[in-house]
């Protein structure tokens, strides 16, 4: 009984001592290199049509599950429709269509990544949210000759792991994303 009341921190043998010493040393060591925050890109990674993309988390307000949506007649095909996010109406963009990626494949497309800045807000469809990551800006390859098509101008770069980083700012400021349709007049006969 008395034995059990002894403080637990007492180190019993040398091997334990060695382990602790090693730990203390490891903790005492200066980190190898401090990467300034400005060189890191905080991103959210997601899968869409068999590719993995990343988008800077500063532009992401939240990730929302897509359970239902209301299609709108007469909008461009890249607009899937509108949804209700806690009482507000949000439009949903299918990047696969906007980037004119080949139509092959049937994804889940049941996650919405809500992108926003002070002027614009819309949701991006994704098959799956992979997680968050930090990417060193310097490791980004700025352009890859094999990537062509509309999507290319919205890419910030590509990582060594073939992760395509999207330019959130550019997507949010893109004029072509905005739908503004007037009805032209034709006289009735």
């Amino acid at each position: 009984m008395i034995e059990k009341n002894k403080p637990l921190s007492i180190v019993k043998n040398e091997s334990e001592q060695a382990i602790l010493k090693a730990r203390a040393q490891a903790l005492a060591k200066e980190p190898e290199k401090i990467v300034p925050a400005s060189e890191l890109l905080e991103i959210i990674t997601f899968r869409l049509g068999g590719e993995t993309y990343g988008i800077e988390s500063v532009y992401v307000r939240e990730v929302y599950p897509l359970r239902d949506f209301t299609p709108l007649p007469g909008v461009p095909a890249f607009i899937l429709g509108i949804i209700n996010v806690r009482g507000q109406i949000l439009s949903i963009v299918n990047l696969k269509v906007f980037f004119k990626l080949p139509g092959k494949g049937l994804g889940d497309l049941n996650k919405v990544i809500i992108l926003h800045n002070n002027l614009m807000k819309f949701g991006l469809l994704a098959d799956e949210i992979v997680g968050t990551a930090s990417v060193l800006l310097s490791t980004l390859q700025l352009s890859l000759p094999t990537i062509t098509g509309v999507g290319r101008e919205f890419m910030k770069g590509i990582t060594a792991e073939n992760l395509i980083i999207l330019d959130g700012d550019k997507l949010l400021n893109e004029r072509k994303m905005i739908v503004h349709e007037e009805i032209a007049f034709t006289a009735s006969k």
Partner: protein
């Protein structure tokens, strides 16, 4: 100076700004009235009033230590004091100077000290110098040219004329009964009040649901009793016990549901009343007299007229009518545009007017009047040159707005309506006042957005009148919900003339267009789904109309009206009329054809609200390009396919691919849902996802194969799983085909299905 002091100063300055604005405003109105050479009595009153305004303004500036401001007010006060005494008189030159000074003051009061530019400082010096000349007794101004006036003024000032009458156009409410509240605070209150509509709608739906549960329980109790009576004879006591246990509990549950449902219903009634009253009261709070909008107009017209070298009087009447502030706010730009239009295109230069035997001074009249429908009618008219219909016709043809043949057929009213089209201007030269050709289109769009309409009348050489009909308050929006295929839409009740059910044989084709006669009027008839551009397969009204549907004897339509035009739209069903809160479509969808917004139903479902003005235009456009449909190609295959897929996007995609290929498609959200549907309906084929909650595609296939009735049904599995094992498992459970999602495309799906059925 501590931070508290600077905060205090900031607030003081803010108060000063509001006060200064009011004084400046009163002075401006006074000056404008003075310019219209009022009676000598009124003249004296106005001079006195303006003098007092400047005096108060000077005092206010001094109290917040705005020396520069005070320096400008000083000579102004002096000038009016001299005017009062009749030592100088008001001349056109002086008016212009005074207006300039006032513009300067109003600009000056709106910026803080540090931000003042050197240009402003030099203007200030110049103005003070000019004013200074007039304040000196040995000024060049002629000595009292209106002696009788001066005498009046002297008398008046000695006996202090009635103060209440002095302030031009300012209506004073008795002191102590009113508080000044920033509009932004009221707006947010109103917004909150409006958001409560959503709660009301949701609660209403909940109450309805409770009612359904109540009746379901009642029918369970009943059938349980009937069952017991039938079996009463031959049952073991143990069984009996279980049944009566169930019955007791069912009864208890029923009783509780009844009481909950009643309470909920009562609560809902109370809530509905409170919310409605509260919203109405909030709206009343935000009603303002129309004069709050028009009070700046005399100055605007004066400035515009001066730029153009024209002489114009503005006459405003009926502006004591109270209108929702949000409407007034939205009306400001349209009004300014219309006044510009009158000044620029309407009223001629004085010389030209004399040639035409018109008074040299043109007139713009703005009149407000209410009608019995809680609407306000606003007319803006000028006595200018009017609009030449032929000129518009030619312009429309030249611009390609209207094909020349069509243009020849239009009557003068239709021709005039063209000026509301975007890109239209009648002014041969583009002046900086108007003539960019966008204005009237924007005006009409704004008015329509407020739920109003605008028309134009014009008589050559006699003038032009714009007439607007607007709601007095932004009514809580009521809409009629309609269904086209599985899509729901809300149509503003205000635009729905009536809903009808008519026999198909009553639809007549006239000149290749379908029409329907109702109450002696012939309406053209279009399919809402087609006008909206829904895919053909979704247009079930089309097939119903052709008699492929069991219910084909008659069709449902809504007759919609906008302005003068009325068109009948064919729908599948008219569901209900409801109060809705219309929300914008978000920043990305700035304007969507045929759709003005969306609303959220009690169950969270989002429904688009249709823009009837757009629909009418679309319907016209549509009618002219539409090919005459011929029967026969419909329902080439009327094979029924069940799609089971948990992802809403994939489900919708699969459905639309199959529908456009001519299949009748039913959807299910998972395997269990699919199996339930298969049991209760008739299907020719199943397309199912593999990975689904509750019941996977494998399990579903196995269950189908094990069922006697539907065991032979072809099953196509669509899956993200690519391994050979899974493929084998698919074959094992009895799937007929296996499509891998990564290589999915619409042709391989249709090919596979074609092979199977």
């Amino acid at each position: 100076m501590g931070p508290g002091d600077s905060e205090f100063n900031r607030r003081l300055l803010q108060t000063f700004r509001v006060e200064a604005e009011e004084h400046i405003h009163a002075v401006t109105s006074g000056l404008i009235e003075l310019e219209k050479s009022p009676t000598s009595e009124r003249y004296a009153q106005l001079i006195e009033a303006i003098f007092r305004e400047f005096h108060s303004l000077k005092g206010a500036a001094r109290s917040v230590n705005l020396r520069e401001f005070e320096q400008v007010c000083q000579p102004l006060e002096a000038i009016f004091s001299r005017l009062k005494r009749g030592e100088i008189s008001l001349e056109p030159g002086l008016f212009d100077l005074l207006h300039r000074v006032i513009d300067f003051l109003s600009e000056f009061s709106s910026v803080s000290g540090e931000k003042r530019t050197s240009a402003q400082r030099s203007t200030q010096k110049e103005l003070i110098a000019q004013l200074g000349i007039l304040t000196k007794t040995d000024s060049i101004a002629p000595e009292a040219p209106k002696p009788e006036l001066a005498a009046d003024a002297l008398q008046d000032s000695s006996k202090e004329p009635e103060i209440e009458n002095l302030k031009p156009k300012q209506k004073e409410t008795s002191f102590g009964q009113t508080v000044r509240i920033p509009v932004s605070k009221l707006d947010s209150l109103l917004f909150q009040a409006e958001e409560m509509i959503q709660t009301k709608v949701t609660t209403q739906q909940l109450v309805a649901e409770l009612r359904e549960i109540k009746s379901a329980l009642a029918s369970y109790s009943l059938s349980s009793r009937q069952w017991k009576n039938r079996r009463n004879a031959a049952k073991s006591s143990e069984h009996e016990e279980l049944v009566s246990w169930c019955e007791t509990h069912l009864d208890q549950l029923h009783a509780r549901i009844i009481s909950v449902s009643q309470t909920a219903e009562q609560d809902f009634r109370v809530m509905r009343r409170i919310i409605d009253d509260h919203l109405e009261a909030m709206k009343q709070v935000l009603m303002l007299p129309a004069s709050s909008l028009t009070e700046t107009f005399p100055k605007i017209v004066r400035d515009l007229a001066q730029q153009q070298g024209k002489e114009i009087d503005l006459v405003v009447s009926g502006d004591d009518i109270e209108i929702d502030r949000r409407i007034l706010e939205e009306l400001k730009d349209p009004f300014i545009h219309l006044m510009r239009n009158c000044t620029d295109h309407g009223i001629e230069k004085p010389a030209r007017r004399k040639e035409l035997d018109k008074p040299a001074t043109g007139k713009i009249s703005i009149a407000f009047a209410t009608n019995e429908n809680r609407q306000v009618e606003i007319s803006i008219s000028d006595d200018g040159s009017g609009i030449d219909c032929n000129q518009i016709r030619e312009l429309a043809i030249k611009n390609g707005t209207v094909p020349s043949e069509a243009a020849k057929k239009l009557d003068s009213r239709e021709i005039l309506a063209l000026v509301f089209q975007s890109g239209f201007t009648t002014s041969p030269i583009i002046t900086d006042i108007s003539g960019r050709g966008l204005g009237l289109a924007i005006v009409s769009e704004k008015v329509e957005k407020l739920g109003g309409s605008i028309t134009i009348e014009s008589t050559p050489q006699a003038g032009t009148t714009f007439r607007m009909l607007l709601p007095i308050s932004l009514a809580t929006f009521r809409g009629v919900m309609v269904r086209v295929s599985e899509h729901l839409y809300v149509i503003p009740t205000a635009n729905v003339m009536r809903t009808l059910r008519v026999k198909t044989e009553d639809i007549k084709t006239v000149e290749n267009r379908e029409t329907i006669r109702h109450n002696g009027i012939i309406f053209s008839l279009v399919h809402l789904g087609e006008v909206l551009g829904l895919p053909e397969a979704a247009n079930s009204s089309a097939s119903a109309f052709k008699g492929h549907n069991a219910d084909a004897g008659s069709v449902t339509m809504v007759i919609l009206a906008n302005g003068d035009s009325q068109i009948a739209f064919l729908v599948d069903e008219v569901l209900e009329e409801l109060q809705v809160l219309v929300k914008g479509l978000g920043q990305q969808l700035s304007r969507v054809r045929n759709i003005s917004g969306a609303t959220i139903l009690g169950n969270g479902r989002v429904v688009a609200v249709l823009n009837v003005s757009d629909l009418m235009k679309s319907a016209n456009q549509f009618a002219s390009i539409r090919k005459h449909r011929d029967g026969g190609e419909i329902a080439r295959k009327s094979m029924r396919v069940l799609v089971a897929e948990d992802s809403i996007t994939s489900r919708t995609l699969l459905k639309s691919i199959l529908e456009s290929a001519g299949y009748q498609v039913t959807t299910a959200v998972d395997g269990a849902d699919a199996f339930a549907r298969l049991r209760s309906g008739e299907f020719d084929l199943v397309v199912s996802d593999v990975d689904m909650p509750r019941m996977s595609g494998f399990e579903l296939t196995a269950k189908i194969r094990a069922d006697k009735r539907i065991g032979e049904l072809p099953v196509v599995l669509v899956t993200a799983l690519e391994s050979l094992n899974d493929r084998e498992r698919g074959v094992d459970v009895g799937a007929n085909a296996y499509i891998v999602k990564s290589s999915f495309d619409q042709s391989n799906l249709l090919e596979v299905i074609n092979k199977l059925i």
